[in-house]
Point group: C2
Chain length 275, copies 2
């Protein structure tokens, strides 16, 4: 029985109520050993104390959120983002994160040039990879759902993430995130997961609600929506992935409002049924 040994919870799932200390101790209390850490809650208590806290609770970091946002055409702003990402790499190394979750960035304000945004992001990645390599950190490219293209991510499909990985060359310092919420609709999903073999750095789960009312913060708990999660899990495992299954639920009007202990209990229950 695998039980919950591969379950990780992304802090966003309980973030509205739990800071990093409460999350680490809370998940640990429920017997969960994986966590995806959001950067602002780490900065809040400081890198050293965060690292100590994770160690003391035997908690593994399945992902560090987020790096990227590299599409600005403004040179000064771009340099500042590169500097920020270099720090993020160091932080990820310090907390021994499996990967940095890399979100490309959307269209810069006033721009309609999606091609330029994509090229800018790739140029930024090229600058970051040497540092990631020497730090022993994986930058995991996460394609987001196309409905988030304008605001958050000009990287929209796993095919594109695979293309970028090949274009960037490199080894373990670059990988991809497979998130069922962002990718379940993709007719080429099977083929592209197979193609991502050896570079899947994280697997994220939640569910797509048929009556989704918001483009960013209305994700469902596993089992409440239409995604055949076990099918996609089988595909990533067939592609060689054997890391954490990370639950990440952005849910402004439902899960974020509940008692986090209740949320974690339900996550554990749904995980065994629907993941």
């Amino acid at each position: 029985m695998e039980g919950h040994s591969k379950l990780s919870i992304n802090q966003y799932t309980t973030k509205m109520k739990w800071a990093l200390r409460e999350a680490v101790e809370g998940y640990a209390r429920h017997g969960i050993r994986g966590i995806s850490v959001t950067r602002d809650t780490l900065v809040e208590i400081g890198l050293k104390r965060a690292s100590q806290l994770l160690n003391d609770n035997g908690m593994h970091v399945s992902g560090y959120c987020i790096g990227g946002l590299l599409t600005t055409p403004n040179e000064l702003a771009f340099r500042a983002r590169i500097e920020e990402n270099l720090k993020i790499i160091d932080e990820a190394a310090q907390i021994d994160a499996e990967c940095i979750v890399f979100v490309a960035g959307g269209l810069p304000e006033g721009s309609k040039d999606i091609g330029a945004a994509r090229q800018r992001c790739l140029a930024g990645l090229r600058e970051l990879l040497p540092h990631a390599r020497s730090a022993g950190v994986t930058i995991a490219l996460e394609p987001l759902h196309p409905m988030m293209c304008s605001l958050r991510s000009c990287l929209t499909t796993l095919a594109q993430a695979n293309d970028w990985c090949e274009e960037l060359g490199g080894g373990d310092e670059v990988g991809v995130v497979v998130d069922v919420y962002h990718l379940w609709w993709d007719p080429n999903l099977e083929r592209e997961i197979e193609r991502a073999s050896g570079r899947i750095a994280a697997f994220h789960v939640s569910d797509w609600l048929t009556d989704t009312s918001d483009l960013r913060v209305d994700r469902g708990m596993m089992g409440d929506g239409v995604i055949d999660i076990p099918r996609i899990r089988r595909l990533v495992e067939a592609a060689g992935y054997d890391g954490y299954n990370e639950v990440e639920i952005f849910s402004e009007n439902n899960w974020w409002r509940r008692d986090p202990d209740e949320v974690v209990r339900i996550v554990k229950d749904r995980y065994t049924q629907f993941v």
Copy 2:
């Protein structure tokens, strides 16, 4: 100067206020010669009168909305949808529509089997094509934005629509719709439009609003969003398309609430600037 000779308006753009007669006469009054007809407004006045009305006003039908919705696993319901689609083909022939806009259908209630939904829809198409061929009607497969996958369309990309066309074989009775709203985010758009050469049956325009608040009915007027429409228009024209440029705006809280004559005036203005 091309002016507005290739402009068509989809009735949905003014549908909340104008029935078919008002739309045909209204668009004609503004010097527009293309219309995409929604089926319920046609049924309302009857096929013969609708046909007469269109002829009397010298109006060309760039599309007939909608056919499809063929994903149900229930045999009786599926047969009923096939019968309905056969009627839709006859109606499209009668009003000399350039195409039927074909929407695949979403996941059947309670189902998580997107593969089965896709196969069901393809099976339905195979049944419809002989009748479309003999009626001289083109069934134009419209990939909808992935955010509509669950509710409306398991057909989500132009690549998939091209794949289906090839799988179905056939000639002019099957084609594709290129709608900038549904496809602008696609990293393979250029390649897939080129691949669709010779089978693009319609080109739809509207805009993606950065602050989109609804998954179905919050489309923007051309120029109010982030889509580089002229770029995509150049691509479809390079692929040989020379039909109407059809404006289709679903907008519950803005455009649908305005005076339709004002909407049409603004459509004409924006068309010359942003399409």
